[in-house]
Amino acid sequence: MGMSIFLMLGLALVFGTILSVAHRFLHVDEDPRIDTVADMLPGSNCGACGEPGCRAFAEKLVSAAAQPAGCSVSATEQVDEIAAFLGVDAGERVKLVARLHCGGGRGLALNAAEYSGMSTCGAAALVNGGNKACEWGCLGLADCQVACTFDAIQMNERLLPVVHPDLCTACGDCVVACPKDLFTLEPISQPLLVQCKAPTTGEAARAVCTVACDGCGRCVADAGEGVMVMEQGLPVIVQPLLTSRSATFRCPSGAIAWVEGSQFAFEAMEV
């Protein structure tokens, strides 16, 4: 009994000595500001800044390899606070929001078949590209809603994802989750949006979806010189058009939308 107590105390003494010596000579000085900045960041580890997590971003901030505005989750006040604490420029902050390039929800776009199976968009897309007649359209099985860490996406009655602009932090999880690659991150200050990804034109496009872009090109003609171009049956916005709605006026289907705030609404709909 006494023997073992002495043995354990002896071991503790030996290892304690080794540890204290190691602490003395192998000490790494870490900038204490990293901890402080990491605490000021939202801690959601969403990866929108391009770093693996909030602490990695804090390290970049302290070493001046990134700007506080790179965090799209923090509110403007938080960003300013971090900038003031570090004594750096906050950087330019562009509020991005996830936008869906499809408006063909239930009742607007035709279904070519019935789908039964795993209730995820990814699985549905594996079966002949999903049940929609338009193979580019939103499948409406909410993979984006599941992927969103910030509860910013809810499916509406038309089975289209409603992205709440205040909650959306532009982390990009929905962009990755969508098997049809329908989401992009757009500046919220840019209201002009092409809500269709189908390269089909004319009757082929109109036959499957009432809100499809049929490639008529009126928006390109109306938008003014150099604002939009037609590429593969779809208009592409070349330079942001911030004030004039002219491009949307003659769109026959509403595929060219002027979106301020939330892209889709929750609507009462008879099913």
Partner: protein, 434 residues
């Protein structure tokens, strides 16, 4: 009492009702020419072909219209004499539209093939590549790739796949019955090209008439092995196990055990290409299923819209049916019947829409899917892991070894779409690797 020696086979697998009698007895017919053909530039595994014709060009039946873009790719030929109407994105049986050469057929043409003699003067792989031949069993892997043995490797046995284990399909059966000498000559050509010492044709026992015909025609030059009737006997790894007793390790190819497997339909196409100089512009398609009143096999030009093919066998009002391309076990449901017949399409099956999917129930851990899986995987575990998106564990459970035969879904008493989930899991793993 009669004792029947059991035929060689593999472990596990399932026994679906084969439904072949409906179309096996009728000789192969011919689908008449229709107004418009759409030849997709991607009908095969590998890179899309590059068109060498322009809109407005007049093309002859059998003329080269698109060249292979890389080694793993194929040539495409005009299935019909006519005018190139468009080169544009068109529906494809895979559900993903691809660029296609649309040819409007000339109603006054005799549809004779352009002049091209036999091509026995060049290497077989070149002739086969020129003719645009792909594996005719369904996967549509460019055939010339499997005709050249990589350096330092040897092939001792060429195994010809005449199993046709999918229910309903009888196109390979009819080809073996009607063209045994062509199949055998094609086999001999492939064997010479590979430098294989022997070739064996594996035929399921429900096609013993075809086996007898082949045996009689071969006069002993090729051995014909009868294997048990079981699904998926026609999967190449299963066939190798049954006929040669060799097991292809997970993640390896038949070449790693000294074997190359080709389909009997491919042998026939190779023979046509070499002896007659005929490119792959048509194939035998089984049109069957409960909704088809007279199931049969037809020579169908590549690019024929599926709806035209169904109209020819007397089906209209197509929104009342479920249409599947390929066999019922591995085939794909079609939603757009404007999609054309492609080189790898062995069958078109039509079911009444009442054949709806049954309700899914929870897994009761009965383990039937484990007993069915020919790859000895654990389908129910893979299903769970896919739902949990556990990519590391999916890899540990060899999800990539699944070749999607559908045996697990077939036996599941809870009607869980297991193979669907596993396909999803394979996709998750692939995406994570990028």
């Amino acid at each position: 009492m009669v004792l029947i020696a059991s035929a060689p086979t593999f472990s596990h697998g399932v026994h679906p009702a084969d439904q072949k009698a409906r179309s096996a007895t009728e000789p192969i017919g011919r689908m008449p020419f229709v107004r418009e053909y759409s030849v997709p530039l991607r009908q095969h595994i590998g890179a899309a072909s590059e068109p060498i014709v322009a809109v407005g060009d007049i093309v002859q039946r059998g003329q080269l219209i698109a060249k292979r873009a890389s080694f793993v790719s194929t040539n495409q030929h005009a299935p019909v004499t006519g005018r190139v109407k468009a080169i544009e994105t068109r529906p494809h049986p895979s559900g993903v539209s691809v660029r296609a050469i649309v040819i409007e057929s000339d109603p006054f043409s005799s549809q004779q093939m352009g002049a091209s003699g036999p091509r026995s003067d060049q290497a077989l792989a070149d002739s086969v590549s020129d003719a645009g031949i792909v594996g005719m069993g369904g996967a549509a892997f460019p055939a010339h790739v499997k005709l050249s043995v990589p350096e330092g490797r040897t092939v001792d046995t060429l195994l010809m796949n005449g199993c046709e284990c999918e229910p309903y399909l009888t196109c390979d059966h009819r080809i073996m019955l009607e063209h045994p000498t062509a199949v055998l000559e094609g086999t001999a050509m492939i064997q010479t090209a590979l430098g294989a010492k022997a070739s064996v044709i594996g035929v399921e026992q429900n096609k013993s008439d075809a086996a007898d015909v082949l045996r009689a025609a071969s006069k002993g030059s090729v051995s014909v092995a009868q294997v048990a009737v079981k699904y998926p006997q026609g999967a190449e790894k299963m066939l190798i196990k049954a006929v040669l007793g060799r097991e292809v390790p997970v993640g390896k190819l038949p070449l790693d055990v000294g074997v190359v497997v080709h389909n009997v339909g491919t042998a026939f196409a190779v023979h046509e290409a070499v002896r007659l100089g005929k490119p792959l512009i048509e194939r035998v398609v089984t049109v069957s299923g409960p909704a088809v009143s007279q199931p049969r096999n037809l020579w169908v030009p590549i690019g024929t819209p599926i709806c035209d093919l169904l109209a020819f066998v007397g089906l209209d009002q197509l929104d009342q049916y479920i249409v599947i391309s390929g066999g019922p076990m591995m085939g794909q449901a079609q939603k757009n019947l404007q999609a054309p017949v492609v080189k790898g399409m062995s069958g078109i099956l039509v079911f009444p829409a009442a054949h709806q999917a049954t309700k899914e129930y929870p897994c009761i851990r009965c383990g039937r899917c484990l007993d069915a899986c020919p790859m000895f995987l654990n389908p129910t575990r893979l299903w769970l892991l896919t739902r949990n998106r556990d990519i590391e564990a999916l890899n540990q459970h060899h999800v990539q070894a699944c070749f999607e035969c559908g045996s697990c879904s077939y036996v599941c008493p809870s009607h869980i779409p297991l193979v669907h989930a596993i396909r999803m899991g394979k996709k998750l793993v692939r995406e994570a690797q990028v």
